[in-house]
């Protein structure tokens, strides 16, 4: 029994200093409810993904505050670092699936949001570092750019990949972001812009930005969606897998094993394989991670993901092409991060999981204007931390 996504909403991502987090949650949720053609009163439950409102904004106990804002009397908050809202989506889809078995017509709202820019960079970096292991990583000065830099350094050491291959991911995603009016950055970047180490070998433009934003989805059963007569996309499934929070305890540093398990499980349940996927939004929090995600999602073997990036060669020509720019995988076009990805669209960590699904749903429904690529099957791969949590979803028109 498939779950139907009948509404999507997303705010502009960026440094939204004139808005507070409540404004953002209300804005994306109102948009989602509106295009689902329902009212807030019709919603049975609301799942909210957020990483760290308490340290960013001082607010704990988020759920009843959401009740105040949206008037929904059953709100549940989830946290899994940058995968927080994917967990919310999973719980919501489970509830809808259960209701379909019971013959109930339930509607759930899923919201993901983060307000990150009200803190100075060093503090935000510290809060985000909370998604790594406190006793071994944080006390030793770990930052997220630092942890992903360790992955990048090892990747570059073990494979033939170069720093330019990493940069090409950023250039492509910035190019795609130009067509997304909700994206934080809508400008081209070039190889020569990659300077200034954040954590060697990662340059500033290899890193996704600190951003504010909110994204919302409305879910119901496929049967009820048809009754409501609204356009919808089927959420075939969404799979969660966890691994060790510490990089040092991974079975293989260069394999996002949580993501690999989630993807394999999702493919199996949807009875598809990577060759069936036309479009995927992956977790390019750092450029190296788009490569690792492509490998985990089965588009390339371990240590070979950079060869997919090289389908964009010569990199000087990426910006001369028409956006969105696809990769060539085994002679087939695959669109990755048409939204601009975390890199260009922005990365309000709690919002990202839902925002990825919003992009894929809108692509499947043909609502993405100039950047629409008319996919049949889309997917999302959302990572929490350095791969401690991963979710993989499969969506179909």
């Amino acid at each position: 029994m498939a779950i139907a996504i009948i509404g999507t909403g997303i705010t502009k991502f960026g440094e939204l200093w004139d808005k507070n987090w409540e404004d953002l949650v209300l804005e994306s949720s109102t948009e989602a409810v509106k295009n689902a053609n329902i009212e807030f009163e019709d919603i049975n439950s609301c799942y909210v993904g957020n990483m760290n409102l308490s340290r960013f904004e001082g607010q704990d106990h988020i759920a009843p505050r959401i009740t105040e804002i949206l008037g929904i009397n059953k709100v549940i908050r989830t946290e899994a670092a940058c995968a927080s809202s994917s967990i919310a989506l999973k719980l919501a889809s489970d509830e809808i699936e259960l209701s379909s078995f019971k013959g109930e017509n339930k509607i759930a709202l899923v919201v993901g949001f983060e307000k990150m820019t009200d803190r100075i960079v060093g503090t935000t970096t510290g809060i985000l570092a909370g998604a790594s292991h406190f006793d071994t990583e944080i006390i030793n000065g770990a930052t997220f750019p630092g942890l992903y830099a360790l992955l990048a350094a090892r990747y570059l050491h073990e494979t033939e990949a170069t720093e330019e291959d990493l940069h090409a991911v950023g250039i492509k995603n910035h190019k795609n972001g130009i067509l997304n009016e909700k994206a934080m950055f809508r400008k081209e970047i070039n190889l020569e812009d990659f300077k200034g180490d954040i954590a060697k070998p990662l340059k500033l433009f290899d890193c996704s930005p600190i951003s504010d934003g909110s994204a919302s989805l409305v879910l119901t059963t496929e049967k009820y969606a048809k009754e409501l007569g609204v356009e919808f996309v089927k959420l075939e499934n969404i799979e969660i897998s966890t691994s060790s929070i510490s990089l040092a305890k991974r079975p293989d540093l260069l394999i996002l094993d949580s993501a690999k398990r989630a993807a394999e499980s999702a493919y199996k349940k949807a009875d598809i394989n990577p060759k069936n996927i036309d479009l995927i939004e992956v977790h390019d929090c750092f450029t190296i991670n788009e490569i690792l995600c492509l490998e985990a999602a089965g588009f390339a073997k371990r240590g070979k993901g950079y060869e997919i990036i090289r389908s964009l060669l010569p990199y000087e020509n990426i910006n001369k092409r028409e956006a969105p720019v696809p990769y060539m995988v085994d002679g087939r076009e695959v669109f990755v991060n048409t939204s601009g990805g975390l890199k260009a669209k922005g990365h309000p960590v709690g919002a990202t999981g839902v925002a990825q699904v919003v992009e894929v749903v809108n692509q499947l429904l043909g609502r993405c204007g100039k950047r629409n690529v008319n996919p049949e099957i889309g997917a999302t791969l959302n990572i929490g931390g350095t791969g401690g949590t991963a979710t993989f979803s499969v969506l179909r028109r």
Binding site: T123, T136, N140, A142, G146, A153, I198, L253
Partner: protein, 453 residues
């Protein structure tokens, strides 16, 4: 802001002493300021492949690359916003250093009946040396020479901890066998909370007396004498440490001499490498150097530190001990005096009737400056490195305020057996050997690492 309660138990000494290979590394240029850790950017974090697992850690080498071999030691990782110091391991390049080389013994001294003495010793001196001539531009002083100062991950507690671990290795005992720890220092990292308990935590010894002790530059010998008396009464092992990140105000004369380092001595009644033959002390109310409560840097009385202070106390303590033991200067093979500068120890030795042959082997000042409580202890360690069995050593400390402790040691055949365990000579730590290991820096890096700027 919320801070987890576990912040109160953050010292993480797992992996100390382990060897490994850098598996991946990055140089972090933008740091988190949440806990003020490692605020001295950039710094190197790495995944290190040890024998049994991959570990995450800091590397104290700016040019670390994948594949480099490293060894873990104790380092200060930073200070939390609560003001708590966080200790853990930092990894340094694996190196082989010069080992101690024994000098020919001329005369064999008779061993006393006393069995209590030094079971093992260890030192720790940071690699950084301030090139004193770089102060000329700032302060207009024509000075030359070098002195030690802290690396990025060093402070008084890391000197105490690392020297203690080296002493344990030399003594060949377990940390939990230590029943007494005293750290002599005038640069304690906390005004309230002992460094001795950090050492106890590192050694995993809980049935243990631990305290810090202060008496200007002589607190190190006090710690040894107290450990000696404890062992005589209670048996077991005691640990006496002298460790200082010596303070000198910018522009002050002390800034030209105040150095960094630590030395630790394990006192026991078994397998002593040098037994303690006797001790004597001398104390008067003399105000030649002092630091008021809450002040960062000490003040001093200039030339008054000479005759009425340093010379008077050292000579009286030395004479008291020699009288007590019925010994003359000729009965000693080596002698170590406190070394606040290059001249004083040499002059006081001559005044007491010692020869340069007895004095020179114990001089450490010229390589690292005056490391306050660690000063004369480092001199003693330097001599123990080269001493043959059945030799007599006189150690006389001096602490402003003022007092001196004199201790007479006689080495035993055990000194040769245990010397094999020493991986690095005191001369190497001082930089008299393995000079290429030193990092010669200018005044600006010194000011940063000392926490002055």
């Amino acid at each position: 802001m919320t801070i987890a309660p576990k912040i109160f138990r953050l010292n993480n000494f797992e992996n100390v002493g382990k060897k490994g290979e850098i598996y991946s590394r990055t140089k972090i240029s933008v740091a988190s300021n949440l806990f003020q850790y490692n605020r001295k950017v950039p710094y190197i974090t790495a995944l290190i492949k040890t024998e049994d697992k991959l570990v995450f850690g800091l590397v104290d080498e700016d040019n670390a690359e994948i594949g480099d071999k490293v060894t873990a030691r104790i380092g200060k990782l930073g200070i939390t916003k609560l003001g708590l110091h966080v200790y853990g391991v930092v990894w340094e390049f694996d190196k082989t250093f010069a080992k101690p080389e024994v000098e020919e013994s001329k005369i064999k001294r008779n061993l006393p009946e006393e069995k209590v003495g030094i079971s093992g010793y260890g030192v720790y001196i940071p690699r950084y040396r301030l090139n004193l001539s770089t102060l000329n531009k700032v302060w207009g002083k024509e000075v030359k020479g070098v002195k030690s100062f802290p690396g990025k991950y060093d402070d008084q507690a890391t000197y105490a901890c690392n020297s203690s671990l080296n002493a344990l290795k030399h003594a060949g005992i377990e940390g939990k066998e230590i029943r007494f720890i005293q750290v002599g220092s005038e640069s304690k990292i906390y005004a309230v909370k002992p460094t001795a308990s950090i050492v106890a935590g590192l050694l995993k010894t809980e049935d243990c007396f631990a305290a810090d002790i202060e008496f200007a530059c002589k607190a190190g010998t006090q710690a040894i004498i107290n450990a000696y008396n404890f062992v005589k009464t209670n048996g077991g092992y005691g640990l006496g440490i002298g460790a200082d990140s010596a303070q000198g105000a910018p522009g002050d004369e002390l800034e030209l001499t105040a150095g960094d380092g630590g030395a630790a001595f394990i006192i026991g009644s078994k397998e002593s490498i040098a037994v303690i033959e006797g001790t004597a002390s001398y104390t008067t109310d003399t105000s030649d150097f002092w630091r008021n409560e809450g002040e960062k840097f000490p003040k001093h009385a200039g030339r008054y530190s000479g005759d009425p202070a340093f010379y008077k106390h050292i000579m009286n303590a030395a004479k008291n001990l020699m009288e007590k033991l019925n010994l003359k200067p000729i009965d000693f093979d080596y002698v170590v005096f406190h070394q606040p500068n290059s001249k004083f120890p040499r002059v006081v030795g001559k005044k007491l009737g010692f020869t340069p042959e007895q004095i020179e082997p114990g001089i450490v000042f010229d390589s690292i400056g005056n490391t306050y409580s660690a000063n004369s202890l480092l001199g003693l360690a330097k001599i123990l490195d080269i001493a043959a069995p059945y030799q007599r050593i006189l150690l006389v400390s001096y602490g402003s305020g003022a007092g001196s402790d004199a201790i007479s040691f006689i080495t035993t055949p055990e000194i040769e057996n245990k010397r094999k365990r020493i991986e690095r000579s005191v001369k190497s730590w001082l930089g008299e050997e393995d000079k290429e290991n030193l990092i010669l820096s200018d005044y600006s890096i010194y000011l940063k690492n000392k926490g002055i700027i």
